[in-house]
Structures are given as C-alpha cells and as structure tokens.
C-alpha cells in the first residue's frame, strides 16, 4: 500500500502522531531488547532492558491510542505485529543496528534528548489523551537521557579506543538526526490545532543540549551534511525488514497466541 502521510482516519492527525511516537518507541525498544544477556557489564545489561521495557510500555500506550482513534477495531498488538514495513512510521535513527557500544550509546543519546523535549511539549497538548501518555512517559525519558548522556561523556572522554569508536559512531549516526526535525502536512495540522509542537521548533534546544554534552565528551558535531529521510513516510533502511521479521514472526505464526 502506498504510504501517503495523512490518509489516517482522524482529521486532527492524532492517529498519525500516535503511530509515529508508538513506532519510535517500539522499534528502539526492540533494538535494545537485542542486548538482553549481552550487555558489557551486568548493570548496563539491566539498564538497557529497563529502558527497552519503558519504551515497550510507551509503545503500547501510543499504539492503543492510535487504534482507538482510528476506529477500525485494531488494538496495539494488531498494529505492532500485523503491519508491514511500509506502514511503519518510525524515524530511521531508531532502526539502525546496535553496532558496538558507541553506536548503541550515541543512537540512544540522540533519541533520548529529542524524546524528552518532544514529550515535555506533548504533555501540554490540547488533546487530553496525548497529554496523558506524554506526561507519563516523560518522567521515564528523563531517566533514560541521564544514562545515555553519562555514557557519551564516559566513552567520548575515555580511552583512545572508546573515543575513536565514538567518533566513528558519530559519523555513521549523525546523518540520521535531521529526520527528527522534518515537517510535513500532518505536523503542520497538529501544530495548528495545538496538539503537537512543530518538529523544527525542537531543533535549537536539542542541538544546544547535544553541544553541552559533547563539550564534556570532547566530541564535536560534524559539519552540516546530507541527511537521510523517509522513515516517517514508510520508506525504511535495509535493516528494518530483518528487525520486523524477528519481532513479528511469532505473532504471525501463531495469531492470537497468549500465555
């Protein structure tokens, strides 16, 4: 199915908004879940899976909201397990592979910093249900960003090896950050209705926070470069299909399975 942005049911765009937020949380939660049992130290293994669990819980709340507003009888499980790649609205950053710990850490830091700012704004949404989920999620996201920012400093201002890995991760991941601030018709409709902030309005605050942490981490924001785009329109990177295959296989092999 072609994935035009605003075909979703509700005219106020809440379905689209909730899908984007839910898919970001779901896909990043799935990625972090891959670390379970493989973390570099026990505390980090536990932290990564805790963050994954928070994100999975947030994904449920957002996708359940999307399903209710869509009004076609789909619940959060239907949306998570029975949509195909082109219907997923997450940004490309969250589907990038875990790589080494520098990749995982930096991906998380870029996302968490943006997530906190977005959720803080959404907690003041004129849509009461959007505000309630965001208000709940932002307290969790505040914990997430403290951890990921701490590790950016530790690895960036660490050993020659950890620093080199952070620099390499930065070159790989920076081109995925532009998409976080892209705007389309759905965003403008949501902003005009006071339901969500314009993504672009979050950029200056995000960049200032990244610069603050990078200064401590002895890292530098790369010179402006070409940015990847497409996730929010359902055009994903080659990594997404493998992730979905693993995440959805059980539910598709045994529809309706419970335990």
């Amino acid at each position: 199915m072609p994935s035009s942005t605003c075909e979703a049911g509700a005219p106020d765009g809440v379905v689209e908004l909730a899908l984007r937020l839910g898919d970001n949380a779901l896909i990043l939660g799935q990625r972090l879940g891959e670390w379970a049992g493989h973390g570099p130290v026990l505390e980090e293994d536990i932290a990564l899976t805790n963050v994954a669990l928070d994100l999975l819980g947030q994904a449920r709340l957002w996708l359940a909201l999307a399903g209710r507003r869509e009004g076609q009888g789909r619940d959060e499980d239907d949306l998570a397990y029975f949509r195909d790649q082109a219907a997923f609205r997450n940004c490309l950053l969250v589907e990038q592979p875990n790589g080494d710990y520098a990749d995982t850490t930096l991906r998380q830091f870029f996302f968490d910093t943006w997530h906190v700012a977005l959720l803080n704004a959404l907690a003041r949404s004129r849509d009461a249900e959007v505000a309630a989920v965001a208000d709940k999620a932002r307290a969790e996201a505040a914990y997430h960003v403290r951890r990921s920012a701490g590790w950016v400093v530790r690895l960036g201002d660490g050993t020659a090896e950890s620093r080199a890995r952070m620099v390499a991760a930065l070159a790989r991941l920076w081109p995925f950050t532009g998409e976080l601030f892209e705007e389309d018709e759905a965003d403008r409709t949501l902003a005009a209705a006071g339901i969500a902030p314009l993504p672009g309005s979050l950029r200056a605050g995000w960049q200032a926070e990244v610069e603050r942490v990078f200064a401590e981490a002895t890292l530098e924001i790369p010179a402006s470069c070409w940015m990847h785009s497409g996730g929010r329109r359902g055009v994903h990177t080659e990594h997404m299909g493998y992730l979905l295959a693993e995440m959805q296989s059980l539910a598709r092999a045994h529809p309706g399975a419970t335990w």
Partner: protein
C-alpha cells in the same frame, strides 16, 4: 425480584485492598503503592480506578487481576476496573506506612532532595551504582560505610 445485595463501605473495601500485595514488592499493598485512585459504587457495581506506576511495568496487569480476584473472594460479584493515566503516578503517592515497610524490607524509600540512606546501617554516605535495577521502580546504590550494595526506590 432479587434480594438486595450488600454493598460494603468504601472504607472497608479500601482496608481489604490494603491486604493485596504488589507482586514485585510484596511488602507493599496496592493501597500503600498509591495505585488505587478511586473506589466508587455505581448502582450495585463497584468501580475501581487504578493507575500504572511505569508505562512498561509488567506487574500492572497482574495487579489488576489480583485486585479483581481479591474483591470476588470477598463476595463482590460485580466489579469494573478502569485504568487512568492522568495525573501520572509518582512516588509521592506511596503512603507513609509504605515508606516504612520498604525501609524495613531493605529497600531505601524514595526521597526527593537527598540521596537515600543505607537501609542496613542508616549511613547517608552512599554511591550510585546504576539508576536502573531489578524492576523498573528501583535503582542500585552501595553504602560507603558498611559497603553493602542495596536497592532504592527511584524517585519518579
């Protein structure tokens, strides 16, 4: 016509629910934890409003089931459970009794302004090990005096 059903007092029902343990931290009741927002008779149906602690807390569904079961066991046949997110749960909803019980159980209760004290020796000189612990609501610290690692309830 059916016989009139007894509709126990809300205060009594609250006391019953104070016997229902949280599945992850059984020393706390669901009342201590502050997740039972409202108890209300709507006709002869008891409406119970609960709120989740953390978005992803796997105990939430077990808690809902346990509450329903406990009320059925007390003879309430018509119970309706609803979940509300707003206002979001924070650790400020934990009762004073709950705070005391946490400390006695060996988990430092949540504190807003100061770092938690060691639940074993009471020292306030402790070091953060990780803000993430064995459940979403707990983090890990180590006491600098008695050197014991301990869990603390995260401020939220």
């Amino acid at each position: 016509m059916t016989a009139p059903r007894t509709m126990p007092d809300i205060a009594l029902i609250r006391a019953w629910l104070d016997q229902v343990p949280d599945p992850e931290i059984p020393v706390l009741s669901v009342i201590d934890l502050g997740i039972v927002r409202d108890l209300n008779w709507a006709g002869d149906c008891l409406e119970v409003t609960i709120t989740p602690t953390y978005s992803g807390c796997p105990a939430t569904e077990v808690i809902a089931m346990t509450i329903e079961q406990a009320l059925h066991d007390r003879g309430l046949s018509s119970v309706r459970l609803t979940t509300t997110l707003s206002p979001p749960w924070t650790t400020d909803w934990i009762s004073e009794k709950g705070q005391r019980r946490l400390r006695d159980y060996g988990i430092a209760p949540p504190l807003r302004k100061v770092a938690p004290a060691c639940p074993r020796c009471g020292s306030t000189t402790t070091t953060l090990v990780s803000e993430f612990g064995s459940t979403p609501c707990k983090g890990l610290r180590r006491c600098d005096r008695c050197r014991e690692p301990f869990e603390y309830f995260k401020c939220h």
